[in-house]
Amino acid sequence: MFKGAGYLLEIFSKTDIKGRKKIQKIVFILENDGMDAPYKYSYHHYGPYSAQLQEEIDFLVQHNLLEEITKNGTYEYKITDEGRKFSKQIKKGQEVAVNDDLLLKLNNESPQFLEMLSTYIFLLESGYEKESARNKAVDLKPHLKDLIDQAVKYYEQNLN
């Protein structure tokens, strides 16, 4: 129970995240890395996106476990004291393992880089071979083509 909430609260207990796009991509990449969260992703304008994940975040905000702040059109999320308390409660009943190093590292990257990286990973998951995934990612995101080499390298070094 509260599996997704458990993972999100664990993530936000480690760091605040600025921007809904960034949250989406970070959680997607962490799931790809083995985090057992329950979200489903489909390909949207900025790459893999889970409406389910956004719904869970809204649910946590609605119940005062996360705080949502809007600055210049960007949504920022922080865990509340209630959220920390509930996170501890959830962890009593189930294991909530998040790769902290990867989380913090990803959070230091730009949303655009995460968009390219997550798109590349999404294509690999869809059955593309590495070279085809690389080419397809550039087709889908021509405006971010300069980031593909960096994204592929990042994937090989940190996620493969």
Binding site: M1, F2, K3, G4, A5, G19, R20, K21, Q24, D36, P38, Y39, K40, S42, Y43, H44, H45, Y46, Y49, A51, Q52, Q54, E55, E56, D58, F59, Q62, H63, L65, T70, N72, G73, T74, Y75, E82, F86, Q89, G93, P111, F122, L123, E125, S126, G127, K136, D139, L140
Partner: protein, 430 residues
């Protein structure tokens, strides 16, 4: 022509020459398997008529996709590139429509949790792996299987084709709403399909191709369509008895897998193979062998297992002695913590007997009505939007024109429910 009679669309026909590839796909063993997967899973526990299959729905989606394409191609005053794009990719759109649900398994959601493989992953494997479907697609055109997979995964370059099958006004959703309404007997989901098709438009919004409805003629049908979705989600997809049954199935799988790991209970052999071998590629045939009948047979066997919890859960499901909702006032999380404490004191395993109906746990989703639109948003993401197009092709989001829909979207659907066996409710004052 090859003709199917259908309770929703009446006649669904395929041209034996120009649409041969579609008929060949229907005849594959992977597609025929959809006859054994119910569209609404356990909804028949609540609505006895809801026994229709994913096979019927898939044919319905192809039929609607054809009608959408035909309608758009007869519109005047639209950019010809849309017509060219739709005509050029017609068979691709129809093949993707036919195969969009091909990866669904029996009790998909529960199965996904147990195997840790999402049905979308099976869909891609069935279309691009070693299957009859791939063989038919590749015989039609080299590389066609990958193209079909791209449409279903929304990464195909033709945005018009992608949006036909997957958007807020897509043929998948329209077919399942009408079909689910008809078979469940719950009339809420019915709406004027003929007028909706008549009002269909296509245009560009923020650089993306979008299907929408005519601003002058389509407002009422757009509202009707959303109201139908709203009522179906509240009354059918989120019905408490159906959700209780779905949550019990999750727990049966969880318990059986746990006992299987300890060597105390045997899972169906095909399911066991999938869990042990991990590789989707190596276990595709195991997955294709699984049907609802196979799983229900095991549930029946497990009513005689030596494990008290598994036996109890299977009996409850098969005899429809479902968990009941407990009403509570105040804070959900505080109530849950209290329930966990009391169940612990009574020696009741909370993991199996205290079930939360969480936002993320249902198979059926409608984010247009369940998520509040964000007032400020510089990060344009998934388009939970329905557009009305004016005469010169400007798209206006429905909530800007409809007070009813605006109100529904801002209210949203929030269902936080807790289920437990009836006899335990007294411990919590229920």
């Amino acid at each position: 022509m090859k003709t199917f009679r259908d309770p929703v669309h009446n006649i669904i026909s395929f041209d034996k020459i120009s649409e041969k590839v579609l008929l060949d796909l229907i005849d594959t063993k992977e597609f025929q398997r959809l006859r054994h997967i119910k569209q609404l899973g356990l909804s028949s526990f609540t609505y006895p008529g809801a026994e229709h299959t994913r096979f019927m729905h898939s044919l319905g989606v192809v039929h609607l996709t054809k009608r959408f394409i035909d309608k758009i191609c007869t519109l005047k005053n639209i950019d010809l590139r849309y017509i060219d794009e739709l005509k050029e990719n017609r068979i691709l759109a129809l093949a993707a429509a036919l195969l969009h649900d091909i990866g669904h398994g029996p009790f998909s959601h529960a199965l996904e949790k147990t195997t840790k493989v999402k049905h979308e992953t099976w869909t891609i494997e069935i279309i691009t792996g070693d299957t009859e479907i791939k063989s038919v697609l590749e015989s039609y055109k080299t590389g066609f299987s990958r193209e079909v997979a791209e449409v279903i995964h929304r990464t195909h370059e033709s945005k018009a084709i992608v949006k036909l099958l997957s958007s807020q006004l897509d043929t998948d959703r329209i077919d399942y709403l009408i079909r689910d309404s008809k078979f469940s007997g719950a009339g809420y989901g019915a709406f004027d399909l003929e007028w909706l098709i008549n009002c269909l438009r296509i245009g560009e919004v923020n650089g993306d191709t979008e299907f929408g409805l005519d601003l002058n003629k389509g407002l009422s049908i757009a509202e009707d369509f959303i109201m139908a979705r709203y009522y179906m989600y509240v009354n059918v997809y989120f019905h408490r008895a159906t959700r209780s049954a779905e949550l019990i199935i999750d727990k049966i799988f969880q318990r059986a897998a746990e006992l299987d790991r300890e060597g105390k209970v045997g899972l169906p052999e095909d399911l066991s193979e999938i869990i042990q071998r991990i590789s989707v590629h190596d276990t595709l045939n195991n997955y294709l062998n699984l049907t609802e009948s196979t799983i229900l047979h095991y549930f029946s066997l497990w009513t005689k297992s030596n494990d008290e919890i598994l036996t109890d859960l299977c009996n409850r499901l098969l005899n429809r002695k479902l968990f009941k909702e407990i009403q509570f006032d105040g804070n959900l999380f505080e109530f849950w913590a209290k329930a966990v404490k009391i169940f612990g004191e009574k020696g009741i395993p909370t993991d199996y007997y205290l079930l939360m109906d969480e936002a993320t746990s249902s198979t059926y989703k409608d984010y247009y009505i369940s998520q509040k639109p964000k007032a400020e948003e510089s990060e344009r993401e998934a388009s939970e939007q329905i557009f009305l197009f004016d005469k010169i092709g400007n798209g206006i989001e429905l909530t800007n024109k409809s007070k009813i829909i605006n109100q529904i979207r801002n209210e949203g659907i929030k269902i936080n429910r807790m289920f437990m066996p009836e006899e335990y409710k007294k411990f919590l004052g229920g």
